[in-house]
């Protein structure tokens, strides 16, 4: 037990304490609030806002789509399909990063293969507002690992919806819609929200995909951290990286606390 505590303490504790400390220090080591004040103004605030917006978009949209996808699989009769989707989701949910970037460029880039197909039928998505390398492009790519993650998280909850509840509702004359409105959705809600919170965190923390896809042109908090580490920070703002990191820690902690609460609430019905 002791080796574990020491390892976790050093491996996780020391970097976190160092981040918190340096977020309030100037480069020369004097106490200051200027890093934190930079964080809530101008370009760094913009990065944070973009990150929050991107995370919101890529948690709500895949969150909703994921429920439908998972439901269509849970209710299918094919055991083979269920097993295939379970494996595929577990694998795809871990697919973020550099490889994902490149296969998406190969498919949807300006000279990509799918783009080529669409051009063949005289649709050019790039002429109709589609850009793989902007904010929505990043969101489009994130969907690739967020959707499977939602399917993974929500499937057990959907499996916990008891057949007897639906039968009880039907016996009392409830329509399909009323069953979902008054029984299905309220029971699933904590699980759905919990799943979306997890997706939010996963998207907020992601760096590699956005960085390699946009080469840093989309202003996101993690990309700004990467820039400061690569030595691109303006003089006098050397410690801003620590402040952004601290901000991200705070956002992620809050997200995970609510995730924990949602999980606890969800387990009340779905045992």
């Amino acid at each position: 037990m002791a080796p574990f505590c020491i390892y976790t303490g050093v491996g996780l504790g020391v970097p976190i304490v160092y981040i918190i400390r340096n977020a309030f220090l100037t480069f020369q080591g004097k106490f200051t609030f200027s890093n934190m004040s930079l964080l809530v103004h101008g370009t760094y605030l913009k990065g944070f806002e973009n990150s929050l917006l991107l995370s919101l978009l890529t948690s709500v949209v895949p969150g909703i789509l994921g429920v439908f996808l998972a439901y269509s699989i849970v209710t299918s009769n094919s055991a083979v399909l269920k097993r295939m989707v379970a494996t595929a989701s577990a694998v795809l949910a871990n697919f973020g990063g550099i490889n994902l970037t490149f296969i998406f460029i190969a498919a949807f880039g300006t000279t990509g293969i799918i783009t080529g197909w669409l051009n063949f039928v005289h649709i050019d998505p790039w002429n109709h507002g589609f850009d793989l390398y902007d904010f929505y492009g990043v969101a489009f790519v994130y969907l690739y690992f967020q959707l499977p993650l939602m399917v993974l998280v929500i499937t057990p909850a959907l499996g916990g919806l008891r057949q007897s509840w639906r039968e009880a509702a039907q016996n009392m004359g409830a329509s399909n819609w009323r069953y979902w409105r008054h029984v299905g959705i309220p029971v699933l809600m904590p699980s759905i929200l919990g799943g979306m919170l997890l997706l939010f965190g996963s998207s907020f923390a992601a760096y590699a995909t956005a960085e390699t896809l946009t080469l840093g042109t989309v202003t996101l908090a993690p990309i700004q951290i990467g820039d400061t580490l690569a030595g691109n920070a303006i003089a006098g703002e050397a410690n801003i990286g620590f402040a952004i990191a601290l901000g991200m820690l705070v956002v992620l902690s809050i997200t995970m606390i609510f995730y924990g609460l949602a999980r606890r609430r969800a387990s009340k019905w779905l045992r």
Partner: protein
């Protein structure tokens, strides 16, 4: 499904034909809806994979060829990056297992009250993503460690912890650890012997999936390696893109397929484990 059918029959018999008329078309519509969802999802998930593979299987003039895969091993810097990743992966997996196996067993055996706390501690690395961790690491690590690539391994151990602990925890829950240990101990086995010849063989599936997860994590990790300035596999792929896009895609696809195989292995291992748990629950 069978019980829905039964309910429908009951309603049909009591409420008359109106219900029947409502019921049939709705179920049909439901099936089309499901088909559409699945086809769209399959298209979205398969298209990039198909494009990646097709692009990797093309030479520079756009014809089908294994050229990119053949050139890959001899490409500038590939073998260095591959072996660096390999070394880091092995080192990480060894440290990870040495650290987490005894800890997980100890918690299960002696301190079951600590299990909720362990769940919490091991979820922490999810709150501290690589991009945040590396900021603190690069600032606080001592110089002798910072000049070595194994600095990355030290923190990959932390990043892999939640997954590894989860899988060991599941594995330990599936076996009757206490009885096994007591039997081994009362037959005169030492702690080491108990661990190696009694517990470990029973944890095979969990150990396998923990190792596979660690390998997949190390081979895919770009953020920390890139910002620490080490050219591991993913970093090499990103850099080589300027030289040859087809070879880059071949490397990316090889890595994807490798990860896919590793992770499928885990899912298979988990399944055999849960079968076992069911069997255990079934026998008195």
């Amino acid at each position: 499904m069978a019980s829905i059918g039964t309910t429908a029959l009951v309603i049909e018999a009591t409420d008359g034909s109106l219900e029947v008329d409502n019921r049939r078309p709705r179920r049909k519509k439901f099936r089309t809806w499901r088909l559409i969802v699945m086809v769209l999802a399959a298209a979205y998930f398969l298209a990039p994979l198909y494009a990646g593979l097709k692009f990797a299987l093309q030479n520079d003039s756009g014809h089908f060829s294994f050229w990119a895969f053949q050139t890959l091993p001899s490409s500038q810097g590939f073998s260095a990056a591959f072996f660096l990743s390999m070394r880091l992966a092995i080192f990480t997996a060894v440290v990870e297992l040495l650290l987490m196996v005894p800890t997980a067993i100890f918690v299960h055996l002696r301190l079951p009250k600590l299990r909720p706390m362990m769940d919490f501690v091991t979820i922490l690395p999810i709150v501290v993503p690589p991009i945040v961790l590396i900021v603190g690491v690069l600032g606080s690590a001592p110089l002798w460690l910072k000049s070595s690539p194994y600095l990355l391994s030290v923190f990959y151990v932390v990043l892999a912890m939640p997954f590894v602990y989860r899988s060991l925890d599941a594995g330990l829950t599936a076996i009757d650890l206490r009885t096994l240990v007591e039997a081994s101990r009362s037959l005169g086995g030492s702690w080491i012997r108990t661990l190696v010849s009694v517990i470990m063989p029973n944890l095979r599936a969990a150990l396998l999936s923990a190792t596979a997860l660690t390998l997949a994590l190390v081979f895919g990790e770009y953020t920390m390696a890139n910002l620490d300035g080490w050219t591991t596999m993913p970093v090499w792929i990103a850099q080589f893109q300027q030289s040859d896009a087809h070879v880059t895609l071949a490397a990316a696809m090889a890595l994807l397929i490798g990860t896919w195989l590793l992770l499928s292995l885990i899912v298979a291992a988990d399944r055999s484990q849960s079968r076992r748990r069911r069997r255990r629950a079934g026998t008195p």
